[in-house]
Symmetry: C2
Subunit: 375 residues, 2 copies
């Protein structure tokens, strides 16, 4: 399973909106076939591994198949993987986690078992879920998995009092940040950052054939068509002010304006924005914004994970990382769970996840089939 | 050497103002004696190890001695360890680092070599120095090694806007903080903290036979004799305002008032305070203060190391960790090097060291004898 997870990790930048899946077929302690999900429209991991075994003249009958996600049981862009597996007749299929996609949701397990194949689940579950948190979030709750990337000094300052913020963290941290952009389906920022930094918002420092889309939260639709992030690729602009004239001018820059005003019509309804993204097959959102939008997304419960780069430097009185409503008690603070800490060049990267959000994903992959999926 | 370092680490709380030293004697791949420095006045590590070998009926002649610090060559509270080593006649002495004590400073090496004993140095040097940074700092630059303990949210906030700060980090982080208090010779705070929290400032959660001294920076000598930190043990009060009447009242509480005013007579000369501490055999200072004194100590260059506990929580607009002069450029920021990151309960502990200060210590233990120490 460790090898299958590594195969899935190797396609981190290419399978979306499909999940990243790896598959390894083993007989007599020997790998006889392996594969990973191909870009959308291409074969899934199981089919790739079965083809590799066939090409090597190996027979899969009686073998053990390790796969990082429940095999699909429905006709999507490709035929169901369970059909191919049943035809190949392995003795056993070991799966890391269930697929909460309503069109699978335990039916893959059921079809394999009905064919007399032993099914073993939950092996390497946490790692498999980490690789596909976005896919599972979209399938189980209808919104993408969103992380917020922040860079700050050890005392939590993201800019000097005069606005200087480039660069608090070092080259290695910035390159690592681009890995996270590349993995995501969308890179999201706010108008404060566009105005202040005029960012390109693209992926550099990492090779990717499938760059993420870009998006800006721009309540008043005031972004300049000359902003550097308009590079010909489609840019989503979430706004509270439809303003058809300006939207038309932006359309020339390949901007797609989506009006999602809140009840007062003043701000973008951020929760509605996340639902829109889920409906439009965005699995993972990389937020890289200033203290204002960052705080608003946190307050709206739209952030699942924090990705914080800290530089070994103290800045004292300077701009904070997030703007949040004043708290009267520490118990009211938003709590996370540290999931990883890594040195990145001279800096450290801390990941902290909302435990409630993570547990909900875990429950959804463990609960497949329990709400009565039909084989 | 790893075993000798572990022996030294085991006496972390007891040897001060002497260095923590471990010694292991090996013959034919077998440990024939080991020991660590005893509390002041007691035998040093080498003598403990030689005694253990003798007690076990082992002969040290021809053996290899591993010791984490250059053996002393002078009569201090105990006779010179080199004399005992020369008498035991090992073939080889392997040493982690030189002793910059002006009364040793290479003379230990020279005496061993003159007796025909092979001396090998620098094995496990960084770990040995980490164990005795305070001793080496005092010997080489005349001031203690000082670390600043801070606890904050992931976005660098150490209290809410209303002053609430207990407890941002968890029980495990607080217990770990007491380990650092226990290791130090002095726990230092400022009047802001005394007024706000009335701390005990003692060591809890860790057993220690040698609790650190307590000290308060109190420029106006305004501390109340009823403050909870007065528990009968001697408390140092550094002030800029001699005020003999108040000093006498405080003396009843076993407070020792030390007047070290700066040039304007308004604040405590913090650099002079560190020199005073060095002259009075304080090796390590644990600073646990508010943003004001913390910032002033940093600005005065008195801090060698940051010990930062971060909780996986965001607080937004709230009190910062340190008050520092406004910076106009990031290049002007005080930079450190991350040396350790560890999970402590739900929190993380980051250690960051001033690289310039550390390199100066390293140079001093490597340069022993080069300025012409006499055997």
């Amino acid at each position: 399973m460790r090898h299958a997870l590594a195969l899935a990790r190797a396609v981190l930048y290419t399978t979306s909106p499909n999940p990243r899946v790896g598959c390894v077929i083993v007989r007599d302690g020997r790998v006889i076939g392996e594969g990973a999900t191909q870009p959308p429209g291409g074969p899934h991991a199981e089919v790739m591994a079965l083809r590799a075994a066939a090409a090597a003249g190996e027979t899969v009958a009686g073998a053990t198949v390790y796969v990082t996600l429940e095999p699909c049981s429905h006709h999507g862009r490709t035929p169901p993987c369970v059909d191919a597996l049943v035809a190949a007749a392995p003795a056993r299929v070991v799966v890391a986690m269930g697929d909460p996609n309503p069109r699978v949701n335990g039916a893959g397990y059921a079809r394999l078992r009905a064919a007399g194949i032993e099914v073993c689940t939950g092996v390497g579950e946490a790692e498999a879920l980490e690789l596909n948190a976005g896919f599972v979030a979209r399938m189980s709750r209808g919104t993408p998995w969103a992380w917020m990337k922040m860079a700050a000094s050890l005392d939590g300052r993201s800019a000097l009092h005069n606005g200087i913020s480039q660069w608090i963290t070092g080259d290695a941290a910035r390159a690592d940040g681009h890995h996270w952009r590349a993995r995501a389906d969308l890179v999201l920022t706010g108008m404060g950052t566009v105005t202040k930094d005029d960012p390109l918002l693209n992926v550099r420092a990492v090779e990717t054939a499938r760059p993420p889309r870009k998006a800006v939260v721009d309540a008043t639709l005031s972004i300049s068509p000359q902003a550097r992030l308009f590079d010909g690729t489609e840019v989503l602009i979430f706004t509270a002010a439809p303003a058809p004239g300006r939207a038309a001018a932006l359309a020339d820059r390949n901007a797609r304006v989506i009006a999602l005003p809140d009840a007062r019509g003043e701000r973008v309804d951020l929760a509605a924005m996340m639902r829109w993204l889920g409906q439009n097959e965005f699995n993972e959102v990389h937020v890289e914004a200033g203290a204002g939008l960052s705080g608003a997304l946190l307050t709206a419960g739209c952030i699942d994970e924090l990705l914080v780069y800290l530089a070994p430097v103290l800045l004292g009185d300077a701009a904070g990382m997030v703007r949040l409503p004043l708290l009267e008690h520490l118990e009211a603070a938003r709590r996370y769970v540290f999931t990883d800490m890594t040195r990145v060049g001279a800096d450290v990267r801390l990941r902290a996840t909302s435990d409630a959000h993570w547990q909900q994903l875990l429950a959804s992959v463990r609960g497949v089939g329990q709400a009565g999926a039909q084989p």
